[in-house]
């Protein structure tokens, strides 16, 4: 018996560029390619260069049995590709991975759920899809139903379920499959707070039972709370591996590009963002200089520069501010106010800057994370990067600095107090 649950060596996965945009071939393409082939070869030389990207490259790591490993990385860093390979959905292009035990994953919640089938029928079906034996499903059936909390509707087709009920039932099945290795990916991004609490609870149960967990998340506080060790993926490679506190710190600070400013290169922007093209996100101090550190007692600006390659109606560009624990502090959109909302119903193609002023005396000292989002309300999300940039707030001169003690909480407002002697 090996001491490792997962051993990965020089794992790489290559995708051909274009495979994503032209999602499938037609016979006609193949035939015309066949005809063009001799000409292509002459033109390009025998090498036949094809545009390719490595979603993963030279990734090596191992997880000991019973360990809980966190995986963090920006969008497109290769996290989902890694999980897809480890859960055998797709093959690696090079290298190998050795898996000891059954892999279960919470990214598969609701896989194969059929809207026409009842809750009861879907439990059976979904269990089988996740690799459970019939006997195993029957044995755990009551437990699953109880855990999901949808007893009353268990004989109703799931198409009549609310999305919350659907998710709870799906999660209940996935949570009861008792794999030796559990892979969790971003499920925490869906569902209400109650559901997320359940997910995390289930995960720490699994970890405490001595099973192996691979936890992929954007939620830094969850990573810190649940994992001992974390690897940071950057552009398909393992950039860092360390005890979680250290790795999260690395990810949140040096993992980000330029200080006070974040550029998006063309290859970092997913194709589905078009016609929206993010260019840069900057933090500027009151003097107008780009700054990584700003003072809490001064106002500052956050600006998002972007290009529209075609007009968009109803576009809103938003900012999220998060603490390093991943908790939202606020979200705000550039058309929140009536004036801008009415003026920019339709934004013609062109280059734009959406600038937001943050008042003085708002934030506590510490590090903050900025996320950006470009969407049209309930229609489409063009682009989202929840961890685009981080910056530091220095609270020198803020109210209460006469006492050298940390103030808990992300905000440190200057509030007016009134003290009266009343007796």
């Amino acid at each position: 018996m090996s001491e490792y649950a997962i051993r990965v060596e020089n794992l790489g996965k290559r995708y051909m560029i274009g495979a994503q945009t032209e999602r499938y071939k037609t016979l006609r393409d193949s035939l015309t390619n066949l005809i063009r082939l001799p000409a292509e070869i002459l033109r390009q030389g025998m090498g036949g260069r094809k545009e390719e990207i490595w979603a993963l490259k030279d990734v090596s790591f191992e997880i000991k049995k019973g360990a809980v490993l966190g995986v963090v990385g920006r969008n497109g860093a290769g996290k989902s590709t890694l999980l897809k390979i480890l859960s055998r959905v797709t093959e690696p292009t090079e290298g190998f991975a050795e898996i000891h035990g059954r892999v279960g994953s919470l990214l598969e919640v609701g896989t194969g759920f059929h809207p026409e089938l009842t809750g009861r029928e879907n439990i059976a079906l979904n269990g089988a899809i996740l690799g459970m034996k019939k006997r195993e499903i029957e044995r755990k059936y009551d437990e699953i139903v109880e855990f999901s909390g949808v007893e009353k509707f268990i004989d109703t087709p799931v198409k009549r379920y609310s999305s919350g009920m659907y998710l709870r039932l799906a999660f209940a099945v996935a949570a009861h499959m008792e794999p030796e290795i559990l892979v969790v990916d971003e499920v925490l991004a869906v569902g209400d707070a109650e559901f997320q609490r359940k997910c995390l609870g289930k995960m720490s149960d699994v970890a405490q039972e001595g099973r192996t967990v691979l936890f992929v998340s954007h939620n830094m506080s969850a990573i810190l709370r649940l994992t001992e060790e974390t690897i940071v993926l950057e552009k398909g490679r393992v950039a860092y591996r360390a005890p979680s506190a250290e790795a999260v710190d690395y990810y949140l600070t040096s993992g980000f590009a330029q200080s006070g400013e974040r550029y998006w290169l063309a290859d970092e922007v997913p194709a589905e963002a078009a016609p929206f093209r993010p260019l840069a996100l900057r933090v500027r101090n009151p003097q107008g200089t780009i700054a990584d550190t700003i003072r809490s007692i001064e106002p500052f600006m956050i600006e998002m520069e972007y290009q529209l390659d075609a007009p968009i109606t109803g576009l809103r560009v938003g900012l999220y501010m998060l603490s390093t624990h991943g908790d939202h502090i606020f979200s705000s959109f550039d058309t929140d106010n009536a004036d801008e909302f009415n003026q920019y119903v339709m934004r013609p193609a062109g280059r734009y800057v959406s600038r937001c002023s943050i008042p003085a005396d708002l934030l506590n000292d510490g590090r903050y994370i900025l996320g950006v989002n470009a969407s049209t309300f309930r229609v489409r999300r063009y682009f989202q990067d929840e961890y685009a940039l981080s910056f530091t707030v220095d609270s020198t001169g803020a109210p209460g600095m006469q006492w050298a003690e940390p103030r808990p909480g992300p905000i440190r407002p200057r509030l007016s107090w009134d003290i009266k002697e009343i007796g």
Binding site: K25, I85, F96, L117
Partner: protein, 284 residues
């Protein structure tokens, strides 16, 4: 509790090595066996879902072939005046429509199966062959219902099953093998080339004309019989009629050809499918 430890032990054994596979790979039928319960569940799902929210429900399994029978009888009988070797045309046609219906439904279902199960393929591992396989097995339920209708017709027309009726499962197996072979090719090709969606209806129609469903094999002149038998469904249909109604027996030669072609399609389909399987999740 002993049950738990048993399953635990089963799982501990499992070591999987994930690496790029090259060239032709083994069929991995062992994995298919391990996942046999999933085959059952997916078949069951396809059957249940098919007639949910239809007014007539499973009656469709009967209505479709009956209408087909009427149409084919009209075209080949009243218009074409093709022979039925002296058998009543309705039962002569229906006995052929049974395996044909199974086959044509299998073609259209498997062709689409990989795409309609896309969300499973991109998220969980299981031997992908299960998908076309279970969409074919789902057709057996319709087949059984239609078989009851046929028994009713046999009673009405006063046909006793012949002594060769025991061969019926063999011909059914031949139909299933052919359907699976063609289905594997179609479903794997459809992941790569969506043209298959458009080709399928023509393919099925064309194939129907090349199969003696509406007419008798005796309509084909003897020197073409061997070529004609290249279509394995010829052997199947002929066998069904022979076993049930007592028409002329299929010749050993044409039967042999049908079996060889059918197995050829099945084995090549399985290998092609396995070869393509590794990229399904990226392509579908």
């Amino acid at each position: 509790m002993t049950e738990t430890s048993a399953t635990k032990q089963e799982q501990v054994e499992q070591v999987v090595l994930l690496k790029p596979s090259k060239g032709w790979i083994a069929l991995n039928l062992k994995d298919l066996w391990l996942y046999r319960e999933l085959i059952y569940f997916l078949t069951w799902r396809d059957v249940i879902v098919r007639y949910k929210q239809t007014v007539l429900g499973a009656a469709w399994a009967i209505i479709q072939p009956v209408i087909n029978m009427l149409v084919l009888s009209f075209i080949f009988g009243n218009l074409g005046r093709l022979s039925t070797e002296g058998f009543p045309r309705p039962i002569f046609t229906f006995a052929a429509l049974l395996p044909w219906g199974l086959f044509s439904k299998a073609l259209s279902d498997t062709g689409r199966s990989m795409l309609s199960n896309r969300n499973m393929i991109t998220k969980v591992y299981f031997p992908r062959m299960i998908i076309p396989l279970s969409s074919i097995l789902g057709g057996l339920v319709d087949f059984s219902i239609q078989f009851l209708v046929l028994i009713g017709m046999m009673v009405y027309y006063k046909f006793m099953p012949t002594s060769a009726v025991w061969t019926l499962p063999l011909f059914l197996l031949l139909a299933l093998a052919t359907a699976l072979g063609v289905g594997l090719w179609l479903s794997a090709l459809n992941v790569l080339y969506r043209d298959i969606n458009y080709i399928l209806p023509f393919l099925t129609q064309f194939w129907l004309l090349l199969t003696p469903v509406g007419y008798s094999v005796s309509e084909i002149s003897p020197q073409w019989q061997v070529v004609y038998a290249l279509n394995p469904m010829v052997g199947v249909v002929q066998g069904f009629r022979w076993a049930l109604l007592g028409t002329a027996a299929p010749s050993w030669i044409s039967l042999g050809i049908s079996v060889v072609i059918s197995l050829g399609l099945l084995v090549s389909g399985m290998y092609y499918f396995r070869r393509m399987e590794r990229t399904f999740a990226d392509m579908v």
